[in-house]
């Protein structure tokens, strides 16, 4: 079930990406609607991160093309933002939280320009949105995983882009951060922004996203959540393992509940 939309925000045509001549994404053809919260879902090694990186031209493409807002990427850089995986940077870097969030403004500032008051205000405002304003002067090595993720999110927000690519923003964060992030993403969607999120947790996917892209090296499905997250399509994406995985997951959760209660007592 691959649904194409009219006037797409992102249009991917016949995209193939290879590492070392070994294709990791094959002939992806998809379009994404404006103002949607999109989840990119698939098993490990399915090429989820590769897909969003290829959409932003961070990786060389073997074939095909990507258009964003019906234009080549180079003309719309200032309308695109990116939240990389947390582990992709060195958190011991000598920088404060505010320094990192201010980086979100660099694209708009232009070459050789220094940050102005408006840029600093925007950075501070973004920090407030993620509830980290009191950490502005904190050294980034002193943050927890969830706080690091919020800082990355604030950096993207400071950019005030129209389309956001996020690579596993929910990986390894505490539940409070996860809730805060999803609320923020919903607000952004309601303002007409498009948010594309790489996600690995099937349980929360149906609750979080309006539109889901199922991926396993090839595109399995792309469409509204309720039509895509079906047993049949998920099995196609995850192979036969899904049933096993969900059964194990269910069992674990059932056991976990009473176990926790006894511990509290």
């Amino acid at each position: 079930m691959i649904l194409q939309v009219d006037n797409p925000v992102v249009e991917v045509h016949d995209l193939t990406v290879s590492y070392d001549r070994k294709p990791v994404l094959w002939g992806i053809d998809l379009t994404l609607p404006a103002g949607a919260l999109v989840g990119v879902i698939g098993p490990n090694g399915a090429g989820k991160s590769t897909l969003i990186k290829a959409m932003m031209s961070l990786l060389p493409i073997s074939s095909g093309y990507v258009r964003i807002f019906d234009q080549p990427l180079k003309q719309v850089y200032n309308r695109i933002s990116y939240v990389p995986q947390r582990e992709s940077v060195d958190w011991d870097f000598p920088a404060s939280v505010f320094d990192v969030v201010l980086m979100g403004r660099y694209g708009n500032m232009g070459l050789f320009k220094r940050p102005r008051k408006a840029d600093k205000d925007a950075a501070m405002e973004a920090l407030e949105k993620v509830g980290m304003q009191s950490f502005a002067n904190r050294q980034i090595s002193q943050l927890s995983g969830g706080q690091q993720q919020r800082v990355f999110l604030a950096r993207a927000l400071a950019q005030n882009a129209d389309i956001y690519f996020m690579d596993e923003p929910f990986a390894g964060v505490d539940i409070a951060t996860e809730t805060a992030i999803i609320q923020l993403l919903r607000q952004m969607r309601d303002q007409g922004k498009t948010v594309i999120v790489v996600h690995h947790d099937l349980q929360s996917a149906s609750e979080y996203f309006d539109w889901v892209v199922l991926l396993n090296m090839r595109l399995v499905a792309s469409g509204p959540t309720d039509k895509v997250l079906t047993q049949e399509l998920l099995e196609q994406t995850y192979g036969g393992k899904l049933t096993l995985l969900s059964k194990v997951g269910d069992l674990l959760r059932r056991q976990e509940f009473p176990a926790r209660e006894t511990k509290v007592k």
Binding site: K53, M56, S57, L58, K74, Y77, N78, I80, S81, Y82, P84, S88, V89, D90, F93, P94, A95, S96, D99, V100, M103, Y106, G107, M109, L111, F112, R114, P115, F135, Q139, S141, Q142, S144, Q147, R155, Q159, F165
Partner: protein, 290 residues
């Protein structure tokens, strides 16, 4: 007066090397500085053979080109031939340095260059090589002029490109996503390292260049959490090492370049032991739970 010129030369080299070194160590590329400082040798020799003079400009161009070629080769071996980064660095610079040495020995009669001088330099000769204008006016040592201009260029480069250099060093993927070319800034930085190296090698030698590229920035990194402070601090530490090293050498009656490099090492040792935030002998500040 000689002491003044020698210390000034050392301080100028320390300034450019430490500034660029801050970026190199944070990119985990300190050894690329080492590689470039050696690999520029064939560029210098070829520039010398082509122009027949030891003028600074052709040499800077020759060395600059070789420096960029070195980084290209390292990237190429690492990315396409899939050799480990450190192995790629080792192969590239020893190979290019060796070519430089062969060129020197083959054209020995024509080349007024000496391998020892390339490696160790001789900062004590700085005050002897004066720039004397046609009217006979002495403008001070030639090297000081070359190094002053290089230092100004490096400072200008860092001031103008501050945010691009900062961002491409911290998070290249994000930089690329918002349209800042990471490879452009990478090669600009490497060109700057090449220029600095060749401008300094004649007076202080490749080894002191490597010491200045790594030790003061690494010391400053231990002492601060703020990148701008790290830049300034590494320059101050480099200058301090030049002054301290000169008097250490005078006292010991030994090699000045060697003494300066020794002082940078001692600074680093002190920082490891007594840094307020990371010192081994200082109790770490307890982090407040949030």
């Amino acid at each position: 007066m000689n002491a003044f010129w020698i210390i000034l030369t050392g301080s100028l080299v320390a300034t450019c090397c430490s500034l660029l070194g801050c970026y190199l160590i944070l990119r985990r590329m300190a050894m690329v500085g080492d590689a470039i400082s050696h690999a520029v040798l064939p560029g210098i020799v070829i520039a010398f053979l082509l122009t027949g003079s030891r003028d600074s400009v052709p040499m800077l161009i020759g060395a600059g080109l070789l420096g960029v070629l070195t980084t290209f080769l390292i990237e190429f071996f690492h990315r396409y031939a899939r050799v480990q980064a450190d192995a790629a660095i080792g192969v590239t610079f020893t190979w290019l340095f060796a070519i430089g040495i062969i060129l020197i020995s083959v054209f020995a009669g024509q080349v007024d260059l000496d391998q020892d001088c390339v490696l160790y330099g001789e900062i004590a000769y700085v005050p002897l090589d004066l720039w004397i204008t046609e009217s006979g006016l002495s403008m001070g040592p030639r090297t000081v002029w070359t190094l002053s201009i290089t230092t100004l260029l490096i400072i200008l480069f860092i001031v103008l490109g501050y945010k691009e250099l900062f961002l491409t060093t911290f998070d290249p993927a994000f930089a690329a996503a918002i349209g800042i070319s990471t490879s452009l800034w990478y090669y600009l930085l490497m060109t700057a390292v090449s220029l600095t190296t060749v401008a300094s090698f004649e007076s202080v030698g490749a080894i002191l260049v490597v010491a200045f590229l790594v030790a003061p920035p690494a010391t400053a990194y231990l002492l601060t959490d703020n990148f701008k402070v790290m830049l300034v601090l590494s320059v101050l530490l480099g200058i301090l090492a030049s002054v301290g090293g000169y008097y250490l050498a005078v006292w010991l009656d030994g090699s000045i370049a060697g003494a300066i490099a020794t002082v940078t090492g001692m600074e680093f040792l002190l920082a490891i032991l007594f840094s307020p935030s990371r010192g081994l002998l200082i109790r770490r500040k307890q982090l407040q739970p949030v």
